[in-house]
């Protein structure tokens, strides 16, 4: 009996230690980052509207940053000449792109516009703390709140409003992305773009301005599935631009609230893609899956000029609901890579 117990204990210890040996660079990373000291005064972080992203962090040490966001309820064009009552961060859908470095100390200031009808808040998936900041930033119309967090885990993260009823706040456009770059920054690329997908469930409101439709939301039947909150936001003169031979990076999020986005650029496989925005890197990907409330980073080098289409490959959404954009690539034709024969 006694021998059996010893055997079990020894076996357990062996199993536990064997797990421990399975380490990687990320183990203990958050704990190490928690110890990083920042010095100097806090400065205002650069934030941008899609499809632009702020400057890379490069080699800078961790520092103190202030991020200012305002929640608003505002009318804007959703498709063609149709208006929708969006709820936003900083009057844009998706909300401002936030870019920080691991170890940074961030003071997030959230102001709810005085003419808001609703309370709002922010839940950043990059935050280690209750509700990602949702509780401490829950603000009535016209009020402000702020909190501090330290960026512990590098990656691309969604932020969104988590005020009740949460689905309604997200469906109205209250989401955006925050990128936490690793020490030394992400590998240098030629261009970076910010794209975020979201669904819209609409019905006619006052003065023919569309508003959120509770029933369609609950049935998960959107009228629009859009990139950057507007039909055609990445088409025509708004097409993303690139040059042959460049390496480009797309920072893509999916606000949801419901659909999973199989994102695909036909004719251009993603050379490199971070799985779900995390540290695991996948290569030679044709279509990458982005969960609702998730994100991904893809990198690619374009070899031939022309228009490349970016779609949600759940293809009705692209053809009928708006989830389509284009990348226009300028440059010399490369006959080695692509050529019409007849």
């Amino acid at each position: 009996m006694k021998n059996n117990i010893i055997l079990i204990v020894v076996a357990t210890v062996c199993v536990l230690t064997s797990c421990r040996t399975n380490t990687d660079a990320n183990e203990g990373r958050a704990l190490r980052n928690a110890e990083v000291k920042t010095s100097g005064d806090a400065e205002k972080a650069e934030i941008t509207a899609a499809p632009l992203v702020p400057k890379p962090v490069g080699n800078r040490p961790a520092k103190k940053l202030i991020v200012e966001l305002e929640t608003t309820e505002t009318e804007g064009i959703i498709a063609d000449s149709l208006k929708y009552t969006f709820w936003t961060f900083n009057n844009i859908v998706p909300g401002s792109f936030i870019r920080v470095r691991e170890g940074d100390d961030i003071e997030l200031r959230l102001k709810n516009a005085a003419n808001s009808a609703m309370p709002h808040n922010i839940d950043l998936h990059a935050v280690n703390g209750p509700g990602g900041g949702a509780e401490v930033t829950f603000v009535s119309p016209g009020k402000e709140a702020s909190f501090h967090f330290k960026a512990l885990n590098p990656g691309l993260y969604v932020y969104h409003c988590a005020a009740p009823p949460v689905p309604m706040h997200i469906a109205n456009g209250m989401y955006g992305l925050i990128l936490v770059e690793p020490e030394g920054g992400l590998p240098k690329v030629d261009r970076e773009y910010y794209i975020m997908q979201g669904e819209f469930y609409t019905k006619a409101g006052d003065n023919s301005v569309l508003v959120f439709d509770n029933d369609k939301g609950n049935d998960e039947k959107p009228d629009y599935v859009l990139f950057n909150g507007k039909k055609g936001s990445l088409l025509g003169k708004n097409m993303l631009q690139a040059n042959v031979g460049e390496t480009d990076r797309l920072l893509i999020g999916n606000g949801g609230p419901y659909r999973v986005s199989p994102l695909d650029a036909p004719g251009e496989s993603f050379d490199k893609g971070s799985l779900e925005g995390g540290s695991l890197v996948n290569h030679n990907v044709q279509t990458t899956l982005i969960p609702a409330g998730g994100a991904t980073i893809v990198e690619f080098t374009v070899e031939a000029p022309g228009e490349y289409v970016l779609v949600d490959h759940s293809i009705f959404r692209a053809f009928n609901k708006g989830a389509i954009g284009k990348l226009y690539v300028s440059g010399e034709k490369n006959h080695e890579v692509f050529e019409k024969i007849k």
Partner: protein, 276 residues
């Protein structure tokens, strides 16, 4: 000797007053309220029981009969209140009782904005101010249960919660901007004969913060676990009632000295009449 005694006495009095000043609390402040004569029509609300939006899905809460103002308090009425209660004027009010946006759009102490109708609901008023106003009219704020009990009604039925259109209709009213600038009683009353439950302002209730959504209703539990340790982590009794989520969300975002653009109040009163 006599002079010294008087001086000491004087000093004592002085410090005693100081002390008093220090100890001032909302209760004491309210005690100095002067009455005003306002004859807002009150409606008799027959008591009964109802299922609260937050709580045990099987537990009905009883509400005793009471009287409720048929509409929210207006700018004109609030002007009458601050006229005789100078401590509640814009320039005199203490920050602990009302934050910096108190009566924000009033150009001066005894004047509301030209953009505001006199018979539009008063807004940018704190819970303390609403309470003081109620006291000056010999009334009180309705409890959250009383307010929600009356809010179950639509134009036809005392309890319209089961109707599919009920929540949607309220949401459409909630989403309208600047509705607080319009006069009261322009829309249809509900089955009780009560006006403007949803189409003008959010309204303070006496115990507005007794039910706390956590600022993140996904958790499906309550902030105050002692108050709501009802076994399973139940949350809303009707998860499709988005209008109620919005209302309870708004309430839980408030502090008693907050003043907000679209937040006003109406008054209630106890009654000895049990049934009518």
């Amino acid at each position: 000797m006599y002079k010294i005694a008087v001086t000491i006495l004087f000093l004592l009095c002085f410090f005693a007053c100081k002390e008093n000043d220090f100890k001032k609390n909302p209760e004491a402040e309210n005690n100095g309220i002067k009455g005003i004569d306002i004859n807002t029509k009150m409606v008799f609300i027959q008591g009964g029981s109802y299922l609260p939006f937050y709580g045990d899905a099987k537990k009905q809460v009883s509400v005793a009969s009471f009287l409720l103002d048929e509409r929210p308090a207006t700018n004109e009425e609030f002007l009458a209140f601050v006229t005789v209660n100078p401590q509640w004027r814009k320039s005199n009010v203490k920050r602990v009782f009302a934050d910096t946006t108190y009566l924000r759009d009033w150009p001066s102490d005894l004047q509301f904005s030209k953009d505001q109708s006199g018979d539009a609901p008063v807004s940018f008023v704190s819970w303390f101010a609403a309470n003081a106003f109620a006291e000056s009219t010999g009334k009180r704020l309705p409890t959250l249960d009383e307010w929600e009990y009356v809010a179950m009604a639509d134009e036809k039925d005392y309890n319209a919660r089961g109707k599919k259109s009920y929540s949607d209709y309220i949401i459409s009213l909630y989403l309208k901007k600047n509705k607080q600038l319009e006069p009261v009683k322009k829309s249809q009353p509900n089955a009780w004969g009560i006006y403007n439950m949803f189409d003008r302002v959010w309204e303070w209730t006496d115990d507005f913060n007794s039910v706390l959504t956590t600022g993140d209703s996904r958790e499906g539990s309550y902030d105050d676990k002692n108050l709501f340790c009802a076994g399973a982590a139940t949350s809303a009794t009707d998860v499709l009632n988005y209008a109620a989520f919005m209302r309870f969300g708004l309430r839980s975002s408030l502090k008693a000295n907050y003043t907000v653009a679209n937040l006003g109040f109406r008054c209630a009163k106890d009654t000895n009449i049990i049934t009518k």
